[in-house]
């Protein structure tokens, strides 16, 4: 199965060769804009105000690795929602693939494999830009790419599973509205979750993004970890594996009738 899955990865790459123009601008531009506006602009206020004392770091430095993890999440969720829906329902390209020796397992693995490659590219670009902003050293920036990719995959897999069950595309915009965007805002990317009301704080630790942010920040800045990094990595891996298995099951139920 592993070998045949590579053919699906190749397919992803081929489609990307046709469509990269749509996403490549944002791959480069988003980190620049975010780091400029939030890191530099807002950061000046934070650093001069009481925020500086709380986080004990320049805000730009604090923010950049968190945003790296959050960007990985957004990229993965984007790639595993509308394109997967298109494969299942709109263009039926999965159905076309399943008429060949390719199986459902290959589709899922190949999809996640391709998203993984995309994530290496997107987070790699991000890490370099982060370095250019002086938020971290190049070496430490590069070190934070693997946990960022893992964070992305911890979302890609369950989002694929979720999409495989959806009949209507409104479920996708709801997922972003009520899932991805709140996670983006409240998982420790922009401010430490200790700032959250005590009642919700534990919730933040349960989100995979918090662990992704923790790993990326810890590695990029050489900080101490609140949660042991291996535990965080294992937690993310668990999301990835469980999501992948569910995606396989739901996709089979959907496509093999």
């Amino acid at each position: 199965m592993a070998l045949t899955s590579l053919r699906v990865v190749e397919y992803g790459a081929r489609v990307y060769r046709r469509t990269w123009r749509g996403s490549v601008i944002s791959t480069f531009l988003n980190p620049v804009l975010f780091l400029l506006a939030m890191g530099v602009g807002l950061g000046t206020l934070v650093d001069e105000g009481s925020g500086g004392a709380t986080i004990d770091l320049p805000y730009l430095t604090f923010l950049a690795p968190g945003l790296l993890a959050a960007t990985a999440m957004q990229t993965a969720a984007g790639d595993s929602s509308y394109p997967v829906m298109a494969g299942i329902k709109w263009r039926k390209t999965y159905e076309a693939a399943l008429a060949t020796p390719i199986g459902v397992g290959d589709l899922v693995l190949g999809h996640l494999g391709w998203v993984g490659i995309r994530l290496v590219f997107v987070t790699g670009v991000y890490a370099v830009i982060m370095t250019l902003f002086g938020a971290t050293t190049l070496w430490q920036g590069l070190l934070s790419i693997p946990p960022a990719v893992l964070t992305g995959l911890a979302f890609a897999a369950p989002v694929t599973a979720y999409t495989a069950r959806l009949k209507q595309e409104t479920g996708l915009s709801n997922m972003f509205r009520f899932g991805i965007v709140p996670l983006f805002l409240f998982s420790g990317t922009f401010f430490p979750v200790e700032q959250l009301p005590d009642a919700i704080e534990p919730l933040a630790y349960a989100t995979p993004l918090w662990h992704g942010v923790s790993l990326c920040r810890g590695l990029a800045l050489g900080l101490d970890f609140t949660v042991h990094p291996l535990l965080s990595a294992a937690y993310l891996a668990a999301w990835m594996v469980a999501g992948g298995l569910l995606a396989h099951r739901f996709m089979r139920r959907r496509l093999v009738v």
């Binding site: 053919r7 190749e10 397919y11 159905e95 076309a96 399943l98 008429a99 020796p101």
Partner: protein, 308 residues
């Protein structure tokens, strides 16, 4: 006798409580073109998908290329060509890339694919569209590309689900010609169609399905011989004509069928029947004498109703 390429016994497909394919038996022999005819919802596509090893059986047994689709799916699919009823080309990719990707799904090396693509594009008359994306192609071009795609792995068995639906007559004839060439090359084909002339042209043997069951089986000629007469006399009347003389002509034909605008007499000699009709003083608006076709058989067996 050679072993059949496809052998189905009591083959059944259910969706929940609904029985889409109801215990059908059929065999497809190497080298032949085998047809499934039937009204909408008869279960043709459901049967094709089971043969294509993409849809699990709900009951019965099925052997494809001597293998079991339940356990040897990838092996079977690697030796099949499939042209689905609904277009599932990748519209974002070019004509060439669609063929390339499909070839890669079959694990073919790039070099082999490139050689075959050149032949297939010629076969499908799409040479000058090689680098064009699929999106703007006409329906007929897409259909031809889908067929070319189904041939990239040089299949032993080709499954064509309504290959010419939506094509103009030129494109249909071109396709028939191509399919005939494939038959000459020894590619076994299973075709579903709504076009009776297509079935008569292409199929060595066919089955007529209705409501998930096979209601007749044979060569086009034998089906006509069995279920119809040699010729048909059509008497056309303006709609609403009170007396069309049906009561007085029953003895002139093996079977008489009344339609709103026509009376059909199934007979072995339509000209003779026409003279007798005239002799009995029945004067239709016009008369047509013609040979019986598969369409007559089809309509007789599946009824003149609109399913769906």
């Amino acid at each position: 006798m050679t072993e059949p390429l496809v052998a189905a016994h009591a083959l059944t497909k259910t969706f929940g409580d609904f029985v889409a394919v109801d215990a059908v038996d059929f065999e497809v022999r190497p080298g032949e073109v085998f047809g499934f005819l039937g009204p909408n919802g008869a279960g043709k596509s459901s049967t094709m998908k089971m043969i294509g090893a993409v849809s699990p059986l709900s009951g019965g047994t099925l052997r494809v290329l001597g293998l079991d689709p339940g356990t040897d799916g990838p092996e079977i699919r690697s030796r099949l060509g499939v042209v689905p009823q609904e277009d599932n080309l990748d519209h974002e990719l070019t004509v060439y890339e669609n063929l390339l990707i499909y070839g890669r799904y079959f694990g073919l090396p790039r070099k082999v694919i490139d050689e075959r693509v050149t032949e297939l594009l010629e076969f499908a008359q799409l040479q000058d569209r090689r680098q064009s994306t699929v999106e703007p192609l006409s329906g007929g071009m897409k259909r031809r590309l889908t067929i070319a795609r189904g041939l990239i792995n040089q299949p032993e068995l080709l499954l064509l689900d309504e290959p010419t639906t939506g094509l103009d007559p030129q494109a249909r004839h071109l396709l028939w010609d191509r399919l005939y060439r494939l038959k000459q090359e020894g590619v076994t084909q299973i075709i579903t169609t709504h076009y009776m002339d297509e079935a008569e042209q292409l199929c060595d043997r066919l089955v007529i399905m209705d409501g998930g069951k096979i209601v007749a089986e044979g060569s086009p000629a034998s089906l006509i011989a069995q279920y119809s007469t040699r010729e048909v006399l059509e008497l056309r009347f303006p709609v609403g004509t009170e007396d069309r003389g049906v009561g007085r002509i029953g003895d002139l034909a093996a079977r008489v069928e009344e339609l709103p605008d026509r009376v059909l007499l199934y007979t072995d000699d339509a000209d003779a029947a026409a003279e007798s009709v005239a002799a009995r003083g029945i004067v239709p608006e016009s008369t047509v004498t013609r040979r019986s076709t598969l369409e007559d058989v089809f309509l007789r067996l599946t009824g003149r109703r609109l399913v769906d």
